[in-house]
């Protein structure tokens, strides 16, 4: 029972309303996803009809093989690239943002206002594209995977720092003091005492940011162009030109790319919700 249930005065459940809600949810949300799955297993000719119909013949395996083989196994390379990108950048974000959020919450200094301002700017200000390319080129990181990883970390830090700062506030300072009295230095205090306690918020950050980085299209488009370096989102974009007459393969690609977020959603629903609604209860 939640509060809002009391808004509804009639005792018991409203079955008419439920039925309407479920039917509309099927029309609005389930049919589009079913359309992806059905089109992905159709043969080429039938998929070109673009209609919502049962496949004449199921070509799951063949479409799968075709889309994987397309353009010299571009999709396989893209999945490897996206995995490297996601793992490396999320790991970087977690460590850097946890350290920054920790000090930001614990240490009151005259810089705090300015730092908080910078963190919020990172959330609001759209990154300047061409100047960023210019900086990357000066550093020799343009069109390289490490460059893109650093970009993703830099753009994702703000959100993570906010989450970590809020969570560190719930850890009692007595723990820090006990560790210091036992002779722990700053690094030991953070990595041995605080970092393990951040586990639940780390899971939230990891899940939310890996979905974000995996689904990111703009940054790879600008900072890592070229077929060799394609990430999975770019394969969609490239295939959409090439497969404009082969909708079955295009939708097989969409289907494959939807699976990782779906798995995340099935296993980490609670953490995703916690991370994404953290703004609603912010102070």
């Amino acid at each position: 029972m939640s509060t809002a249930e009391l808004v509804n005065h009639r005792p018991g459940r409203s079955y008419v309303l439920s039925a309407v809600a479920i039917v509309s949810s099927i029309v609005v949300f389930i049919i589009p996803f079913a359309f992806i799955v059905l089109t992905a297993v159709k043969d080429r000719q039938q998929s070109a009809d673009l209609d919502f119909s049962w496949p004449h013949q199921f070509q799951f395996v063949q479409n799968f093989v075709d889309v994987v083989k397309a353009r010299d196994y571009m999709l396989v390379i893209a999945f490897i690239n996206s995995t490297i990108l996601t793992v490396a950048s999320v790991a970087g974000m977690v460590v850097l943002a946890a350290m920054a959020g920790f000090v930001l919450q614990r240490r009151k200094s005259k810089w705090n206002g300015f730092i908080n301002f910078l963190v919020l700017s990172g959330l609001i200000i759209p990154p300047a594209v061409v100047p960023t390319i210019w900086v990357l080129q000066k550093l020799g990181l343009f069109k390289t995977m490490p460059g893109l990883i650093l970009i993703e970390i830099a753009f994702g830090l703000s959100f993570c720092i906010l989450l970590f700062r809020a969570f560190v506030a719930t850890i009692p300072r007595e723990l820090d003091e006990a560790a210091i009295i036992d002779g722990a230095g700053p690094l030991r205090l953070f990595f041995r005492v605080i970092f393990p306690l951040l586990r639940s918020v780390i899971i939230t950050v990891v899940v939310v940011q890996s979905v974000n980085v995996f689904n990111d299209f703009v940054n790879p488009l600008y900072f890592l162009p070229g077929d060799k370096n394609a990430t999975v989102q770019l394969t969609l974009y490239n295939f959409s030109g090439q497969f404009s007459t082969q909708y079955n393969l295009l939708f097989m690609d969409i289907l494959l790319i939807t699976i990782p977020p779906l798995i995340m959603f099935l296993f980490f629903n609670r953490q995703i919700v916690a991370g994404m609604t953290s703004g609603a209860v912010k102070g």
Partner: protein, 308 residues
């Protein structure tokens, strides 16, 4: 930058119990912890942002730049294609943000009420948030096909001649906005659910004892107490709407013509065409638009909250 200029005396080894003398207190919360974050953030975010102000005033080839004053901005506001992108950005952001507030609140009330299949409904409304934007764009590009797409097919059954959603200049931008709402309303709903659930039950009970109807308690209790959630939804979706690029690029690439261009797609097009100065000017304009809307708005919304 300034953050990293940690004072070395912070690292002086003294016991925590040492008396505070001349600001040389030992603290385990070292400023060095900011260093990697500060370096990365400054080099890849702050430096380009500041550089953009200068390079937006130049004709630029990445290797050499020629100062040309405000010519880029003049071009931006004279060329009809670019002006269209500017107005479209504002329309798109306001429409998507407004729809997300209204639909999100309605769905949240529905999904916190006693309804069959609540868990299923919450999941299904939220899932599109996690799906690749480009994938959603391509999916709806097919569904919105004017002759063969299933949306117009379904409308045809009802005897309505559906428009060319993405091919008709009058509809293109609004069709993309509708897909944006379809994909993003789950997040707004989730934020509103968190807000509604945090309302103390006693308030609703008291209202009921006082004889308030469903509408009354919604208007007088749920709506005002959801204010923080509303502020979050408005701010988040406005930022997202003003910066939005992926969906528009996946669905129409700004077409037909330039009728569904927004500032972000103009930035990309000018970048592709090699007009780096003009592209950067677009970035500066986007920066100004976002801050000029978000900062006063969040100040205004948060101030009102304190008054209540």
């Amino acid at each position: 930058m300034t953050v990293t200029s940690a004072r070395p005396q912070d690292r002086v080894d003294s016991t925590p119990a040492a008396p505070a003398g001349g600001g040389k207190v030992y603290t385990p919360y070292s400023f060095w912890f900011y260093l990697p974050t500060a370096v990365l953030y400054s080099v890849l975010f702050l430096v380009p942002t500041f550089a953009s102000f200068y390079y937006s005033l130049t004709r630029w080839s990445l290797f050499e730049s020629k100062f040309i004053g405000f010519d880029n901005f003049v071009t931006f506001f004279q060329e009809p294609a670019l002006v269209k992108g500017f107005t479209n950005t504002l329309i798109y952001a306001v429409v998507t943000s407004g729809s997300k507030v209204v639909l999100g609140l309605l769905l949240a009330v529905l999904l916190t009420s006693r309804i069959v299949g609540r868990g299923y409904l919450r999941s299904v409304v939220f899932f599109p948030v996690l799906v690749s934007t480009v994938g959603v764009g391509l999916l709806f590009q097919v569904l919105m096909n004017p002759e063969r797409g299933i949306i117009n097919g379904a409308l045809g059954v009802l005897g309505i001649q559906g428009p060319g959603w993405l091919t008709d200049p009058k509809w293109a931008l609004m069709s993309i906005a509708a897909v944006d709402v379809w994909k993003g309303v789950g997040l707004a709903t989730l934020i509103y659910i968190a807000g509604i659930v945090s309302i103390p039950r006693e308030y609703m009970e008291a209202a009921r004892v006082d004889g308030a109807g469903s509408w009354e308690s919604f208007r007088r209790i749920v709506l005002p107490l959801c204010k923080p959630a509303t502020v979050t939804v408005i701010i988040l979706s406005l930022i997202g709407g003003l910066r939005s690029f992926e969906l528009i690029w996946a669905m129409t690439r700004g077409g037909p013509g330039f009728t569904s261009d927004v500032i972000s797609s103009v930035i990309y097009k000018q970048y592709q065409a090699g007009f780096y100065g003009l592209s950067t000017a677009g970035n500066v304009i986007l920066f100004v638009v976002v801050t000029a809307i978000i900062l006063p708005l969040s100040w205004f919304l948060n101030r009102k909250e304190v008054d209540m």
